[in-house]
């Protein structure tokens, strides 16, 4: 972990100074103190610039001045990005709209980005990755096909991962190919890597389910393994399917570590979403996901919606100061997680740390109550 920079004096906390800090250097209480005023300022702007957000605040009688804790910042459910335009800057300042289909398809989320937000997201991601990869650029292996990064592809969790993580790339290789909608090993590329880059520092990214069911399964048949001097794999997503296959996180890490001839600690699961691009919550060597300085997480009880105590499973709320152009200050996800601890992870990272539990199961109407629509007419 990089050494902590000198802490700016109170009152000197701007978003830029916070993003420039080592990402896990600040204790939780201190972090909450400097994040709150920045978020409140952002909420004022959001409310001024977006009628829907103003509706949201006024109908609930929320006075931004009266917000005393991050827990009281109004969260917006992540699904609302599919229904509403949550832009908080004038339209002419928006340079790009991310459209994320998510992992389950359906209506995409729309995330409007201006220049400042994009820049903040890049800086933030770089800061997080530097903690795991150091400062030097490396060979980047994408365990997916090249088309996933093409501008024609709909933005998905897979695309976001590739694009986000490529900022540390010296050179990018795609280890899979796609033919007729089916993924398979890109053998010429794999051979090239084994022959020419085994002594390089390498990092890789892939979608957990794809790594297991396609990459690992086919590699096993080919009898191939890698051997790098220094290797880190970032992987995420698809845990529901992995649970169906009865593959635990531990089994996955051990098996894939063997494939790359590395230690289990270098197989890093992360949690993130397109609605909060720039922030990923990466596992430390103790299997805990850490929250960087410029963001916060709150685990909320699924009934009371109050923050959960340590050890209790609830809905994951993610908070951030990175975006000027849309409401990312507090987003309530449809994921379940558990707060493991605060400031005391044996890895040395400060702040809250948590574990992802599962996606929320889709609720189908139960019982004999049903739709009012008649069938067959």
């Amino acid at each position: 972990m990089p050494d902590a920079d000198p802490i700016p004096s109170k009152g000197a906390w701007t978003r830029d100074t916070i993003v420039a800090l080592p990402p896990y250097s600040q204790d939780d209480q201190h972090k909450n103190e400097f994040l709150l005023p920045i978020i409140k300022e952002q909420l004022e702007i959001a409310r001024r610039n977006n009628r829907q957000i103003d509706n949201y605040f006024s109908k609930q009688g929320i006075e931004i001045d009266a917000i005393q804790r991050l827990e009281d910042v109004p969260y917006i459910p992540v699904q609302m990005f599919k229904v509403f335009d949550l832009r908080t800057r004038p339209e002419q300042e928006i340079v790009k709209i991310l459209q994320s289909s998510g992992t389950t398809g359906g209506t995409p989320s729309r995330i409007p980005l201006d220049k400042a937000t994009t820049l903040n997201q890049i800086k933030a991601l770089k800061s997080i990755l530097s903690d795991y990869l150091g400062e030097r650029r490396k060979i980047f292996l994408v365990i997916d096909h090249e088309g996933i990064n093409s501008p024609q592809m709909a933005f998905s969790a897979r695309t976001a991962g590739v694009r986000g993580l490529s900022i540390y790339a010296k050179k990018i290789f795609y280890l899979l190919k796609e033919e007729d909608g089916r993924l398979s090993l890109n053998m010429p590329v794999i051979r090239e890597i084994v022959e020419n880059y085994s002594h390089e520092d390498v990092y890789a990214f892939g979608f957990t389910y794809i790594i297991w069911t396609i990459f690992y399964e086919q590699l096993k048949k080919e009898g191939m393994r890698f051997s790098f001097e220094d290797f880190t794999l970032f992987h995420g997503g698809g845990w529901k399917k992995m649970q169906e296959l009865a593959v635990s996180k531990e089994t996955f890490s051990d098996t894939i570590a063997e494939v790359f001839c590395t230690k289990r600690e270098n197989i890093l699961d992360f949690y993130g979403m397109a609605e909060q691009t720039g922030i990923i919550f990466v596992d430390c060597q103790h299997g805990n996901k850490h929250v960087p300085t410029f963001s916060q997480i709150i685990i909320r009880d699924p009934f009371s919606l109050e923050p959960c105590d340590i050890g209790k499973t609830g809905l994951i709320e993610v908070m951030s100061i990175l975006a000027d152009s849309y409401y990312d200050q507090a987003i309530l996800t449809e994921d379940l997680g558990v707060l493991v601890g605060v400031d005391d992870c044996p890895c040395g990272h400060k702040g809250r740390y948590f574990q992802f539990v599962s996606r929320v199961e889709k609720a189908e109407p139960r019982g004999c109550g049903d739709t009012f629509r008649e069938s067959g007419r």
Binding site: K59, E361, P365, C368, D370
Partner: protein, 429 residues
């Protein structure tokens, strides 16, 4: 795998390979049940209601106090009279208005498929089979088996005297078998279906369709209590009357019981324009929800349902022209808008509240999926006209707030007991 939890009056859990032995036992035991006069059966059931109410192990369980009310002799008498016109038809041939003698004979073995929305549903279904002197094989969700068994355990302890003869509750119990099995197993479901002289199916759309398609014997009668939708309507005079606020307490209770999972649970309340704005009415309804007993207000919900409610609230709060009144937790939710339509159920005590110019605007929304409409209409003529129109279009029950879940017959437009018997004749010489 079939697990039998009750057979021939024995509360023993055992694994069975098929239903042959169970159906043979029920078929044999139902003869003794059929020989008991209906009045004696009603006396036994009345005594059962009193016993469950006095049993501290079960009287606090959800729905049990209602069972004891429902089992009162007067109520069961009324149910039988409504269904059979005269109880004597159940006990032997009896002169009808035509030239023939008529009797209501039980159909035989009733196979019940019980839905997972209401713990005591299986019990009501069993009692209806008993009142028509049928044997029962009941497939119910495993989580409800202990409750139903604990009620049925009281039966052998009951004996009643009727016209000089003593009758035991054991004869009723012996004609009931309770089973659990995986409903997705087609071969087991088919065997269960083929054991039936009559099938009673409770459930959602998918379950009802799948079970209905199972093979059955040619003479088998099928009674379906399928998926339905309910709502509430109040007219101006009613809203401006003294009793309206009290009715909102009843409406809140109707929404809360079964956490909106029943076909009789209201999902929308339409309020005719009055001197009170919809916001004021919503604030009264809010107070009514907050007055609910803790067990009804704070019912456990799945995290999936939490997400659904949170999303609905946010959609209404972000939108122009809509509003949401709700506490910080997910105890209840009032969603307000002006669109005159029915809304897809959310469940978990989410009630859509809509202002209308006239109750007549609701009539075109009614179709055959509508089970109950809870109405507050003061003028009897207006009330009658409204009821005629909505029932013509498909609604089954027009009730008043606080009674929407009362299990009265007909239910879903069906006289269940009547369907559970065969009307047979004896032409006199």
């Amino acid at each position: 795998m079939i697990t039998c939890h009750l057979m021939e009056g024995k509360f023993e859990t055992r694994v069975c390979q098929g239903f042959d032995e169970i159906s043979r036992s029920v078929d044999t035991c139902r003869e003794a049940l059929a020989a008991i006069p209906l009045d004696a059966i009603i006396k036994i059931l009345d005594a059962l209601g009193k016993r469950v109410l006095n049993n501290p192990d079960i009287n606090t369980l959800p729905g049990v106090s209602y069972i004891s009310l429902w089992l009162r002799r007067e109520n069961l008498d009324r149910i039988c009279r409504v269904n059979f016109s005269d109880k004597r038809y159940l006990d032997g041939f009896y002169q009808s208005e035509t030239n023939v003698l008529m009797m209501a004979q039980p159909r035989g073995i009733v196979c019940h498929w019980i839905a997972a929305n209401m713990p005591t549903l299986g019990f009501f279904s069993i009692v209806q089979a008993i009142l028509s002197k049928n044997g029962s094989m009941v497939k119910m969700p495993g989580e409800y088996v202990p409750l139903i068994l604990s009620i049925l355990r009281e039966l052998p302890e009951i004996s009643v005297d009727h016209e000089g003869t003593t009758y035991s509750g054991k004869s009723l119990l012996d004609a009931i078998a309770i089973v659990t099995f995986e409903g997705r197993s087609t071969s087991v479901s088919e065997k269960f279906s083929l054991a039936a002289d009559c099938r009673i199916i409770f459930g959602g759309s998918e379950a009802v369709r799948a079970i209905s398609r199972l093979p059955c014997r040619d003479h088998c009668e099928t009674i379906i209590f399928g998926p339905k939708y309910s709502f509430a309507v109040f007219d101006r005079e009613y809203i401006e009357s003294d009793g309206f606020k009290r009715s909102l307490d009843q409406l809140a209770k109707d929404v809360a019981v079964f956490n909106q999972m029943a076909c009789s649970s209201p999902h929308v309340v339409f309020v005719e324009k009055s001197r009170y704005s919809v916001e004021v009415i919503a604030s009264w309804l809010r107070d009514a929800f907050e007055r609910l007993p803790g067990a009804l207000r704070n019912q456990e919900i799945s995290s999936g349902l939490s997400a659904k409610i949170i999303n609905a609230r946010a959609r209404y709060l972000l939108s122009d022209g809509k509003n949401c009144v709700a506490p910080r937790d997910l105890g209840w939710t009032i969603l307000i808008d002006q669109k005159i339509c029915l809304e897809e159920p959310i469940q978990g005590k989410c009630i859509f509240t809509k202002e209308i110019t006239s109750v007549d605007e609701v009539i075109p929304l009614v179709n055959h999926k509508i089970q109950a409409i809870s109405i507050g209409i003061l003028d009897p003529a207006k009330r009658d006209a409204f009821a005629r129109q909505v029932t013509y279009r498909g609604a089954d029950r027009i009730v008043i707030p606080g009674t929407i879940h009362d299990f009265t017959l007909p239910w879903d437009g069906i006289m269940t007991l009547n369907r559970l018997v065969r009307w047979v004749i004896l032409r006199s010489n």
